[in-house]
């Protein structure tokens, strides 16, 4: 039996360029036992795709490949039509910064020594945008709902929800064309979840960025995204099954 390994189901008439295209990705942490085999997924400009699947199915690995943070064993990644020319530290800056990433645990994703404002400004300073960094940081902080009193604090002085707000601001700092949110809200309460989804959707509405939201909360991703895809197997047969947005779902934010 040969189940279809890949199935593209972009919106009808999708002739536009793809913001992100993953083709026949085989990836994992042991070449003999890859987590993903031959997985393909495309996001059109401005499209929001939710990636669902059980724990351990490889959805986070796929998200890392999409963010150029993990080199696949086989397959190609295209960003805005251009093939990725490297992964991790070998990714060229222009491609690396075209993708903004938010991870599940803000504690693990934030340097504990930095204040929240330094955390948000880090991508700006790292790419030589010192001029205007302070203004941009304030603007980003306002967008995610962090007041000036919180910006001077370090991660251990704020709650998970507040720290994740800073991580979202950091991901938006360089105005990415693609956002990858890997379980962004898994540790957050309902209200903070809704608030951060609204921040992401507000940015996407203004910028036209595409979104790959990874998670296991079907209700959330069906409400949030234009369509959801489900990753099965992981190991022997990775197959994506695609579903359009739930009928009842309306745009977030």
């Amino acid at each position: 039996m040969t189940p279809p390994r890949t199935r593209h189901t972009g919106p009808a008439g999708g002739a536009g360029p793809h913001a992100l295209e993953l083709r026949d990705i085989t990836a994992g942490y042991d070449r003999r036992a890859p987590v993903l085999r031959g997985v393909s997924l495309s996001l059109r400009e401005g499209e929001a795709v939710g990636l669902l699947g059980p724990s351990g199915c490889g959805k986070s690995t796929l998200a890392k490949v999409a963010a150029l943070l993990h080199r696949p064993d086989a397959g190609t990644v295209h960003l805005g039509g251009e093939p990725a020319r490297g992964f991790r530290h070998r990714a060229p800056r222009a491609q690396r910064t075209a993708v903004g990433v938010v991870f599940q645990s803000p504690r693990l994703a934030a340097d504990p020594r930095l204040t929240l404002s330094a955390l948000i400004a880090e991508p700006l300073l790292a790419t030589g945008r010192k001029a205007g960094a302070a203004d941009r940081t304030r603007e980003l902080a306002r967008a995610v709902g962090l007041g000036p009193d919180l910006l001077g604090r370090r991660p251990h002085e704020v709650s998970d929800g507040q720290l994740q707000r800073a991580c979202v601001a950091r991901a938006l700092a360089l105005r990415p064309r693609v956002l990858v949110c890997d379980e962004m809200t898994a540790m957050l309460d309902a209200s903070t979840t809704a608030a951060l989804v609204a921040v992401v959707e507000d940015y996407r509405a203004r910028s036209g960025a595409a979104l790959l939201a990874v998670g296991h909360d079907r209700t959330l991703l069906e409400r949030w995204c234009d369509r959801t895809v489900e990753l099965h197997g992981g190991g022997t047969d990775s197959a994506l099954r695609s579903a359009p947005r739930a009928a009842a779902g309306t745009s977030a934010g």
Partner: protein
């Protein structure tokens, strides 16, 4: 808070609450910080838990939920100042034991693991990484039951089985377990001492929905055997699935305490914060509560939710007491009357 607001009747307890397993009264926890600053982590919490009952404590992160759990286990850091009482009563025990005043030796030798079992937030971090599950489980069984030799081997297997931990995974190290199995291993440890009270602090964080459902169903099954379960969670779906009653915590206080069917169904939540939290769910209106929770070290005078509340009025300048299951000067009334009427009233006075 006066004692009369805390009778079992007004806190919406089941009939069995006349002999509660755990009675918490006026529990207050303050942290003394450098520079004389004080953090009001928990304020005036009162609740009862009956055998066979599950109470879910829900609220945003940083609202004091976990501090409450640590206080019940005597695990607060040295700069914490605790007042009030939390009496744990065994069946037929007249006086019970106040967990807040018990000394460390009593807590260590007779309470933790024996009378109160803790299902931890992060099972992977709770387990020792350098030893197998079997070795950790056997150690706990030996300590709590005194079993030795062949008897210990058998008791360890039984203990694993009670939490549905597969016997063929017992010789694995924690890093070789999936999130769900690590959770079961931690639950197995919590159940060894046959403690009448189970305390589960965010037991489902990071698990996928199927595993969340399975984990809370298993906790529910242990509750149905006659234990009391206090589950602390921010996952409202998990709370709805498992709980008999729901306590909503905001800024260190319980602002609503209601039977779960009333809270999640009709008539629905009565505190504006609780309503906001429920309405933020993606299956409901997916709208966040405006603003953020206040700092516990810098609480506003009066009702701590008033700055974010669309129903706030002058009367909200004083702290509302928990009466009839809700601590709000202007609670929402029955669901039928809400909607447009509520919005009209909601305009600031």
């Amino acid at each position: 808070m006066s004692a009369d607001t805390l009778t079992p009747e007004t806190v919406a307890g089941p009939p069995a609450a006349a002999h509660p397993l755990l009675s918490v009264r006026e529990l207050t926890v303050r942290f003394r910080m450098r520079g004389g600053r004080e953090v009001a982590a928990v304020t005036d919490v009162g609740l009862d838990l009956a055998p066979g009952e599950c109470l879910a404590l829900v609220g945003e992160s940083g609202c004091g939920k976990s501090v409450l759990a640590s206080a019940l286990l005597g695990l607060l850091p040295g700069n914490a100042h605790v007042s009030g009482s939390a009496v744990l009563r065994g069946p037929g025990e007249a006086d019970g034991l106040d967990l807040l005043t018990a000394d460390e030796a009593t807590l260590a030798r007779t309470v933790r693991g024996r009378r109160v079992g803790l299902v931890p937030q992060s099972p992977a971090a709770h387990l020792t990484p350098v030893r197998t599950v079997r070795s950790q489980l056997a150690e706990t069984v030996r300590e709590l039951t005194g079993a030795r030799g062949e008897e210990l081997r058998a008791a360890t297997l039984t203990a694993a089985g009670r939490a549905a931990f597969p016997a063929d995974h017992l010789d694995r190290y924690p890093h070789q377990l999936s999130g769900g199995l690590a959770q079961r291993a931690a639950t197995a440890l919590a159940l060894v001492g046959d403690a009448p009270l189970l305390l589960a602090d965010e037991p489902t964080t990071g698990l996928d929905r199927d595993l969340v459902d399975r984990t809370v169903d298993e906790l529910r099954a242990h509750t149905d055997e006659g234990r009391g379960l206090l589950i602390i969670t921010h996952d409202l779906a998990a709370a709805e699935r498992v709980a008999d009653r729901v306590a909503v915590m905001y800024a260190g206080r319980i602002v609503e305490l209601a039977p779960a069917p009333d809270f999640f169904g009709t008539p629905g939540p009565r505190h504006p914060y609780a309503r906001g939290l429920l309405e933020a769910l993606p299956e409901r209106s997916f709208t966040p509560i405006p603003g953020m929770p206040p700092e516990l070290g810098d609480l506003p005078a009066g009702c701590a939710f008033a700055p974010r509340c669309d129903r706030a009025a002058d009367v909200c300048a004083t702290v509302p007491q928990l009466t009839g299951g809700v601590a709000c000067h202007r609670p929402l009334t029955a669901a039928a009357g809400e909607g447009p009427a509520a919005r009209r009233e909601g305009s600031r006075v």
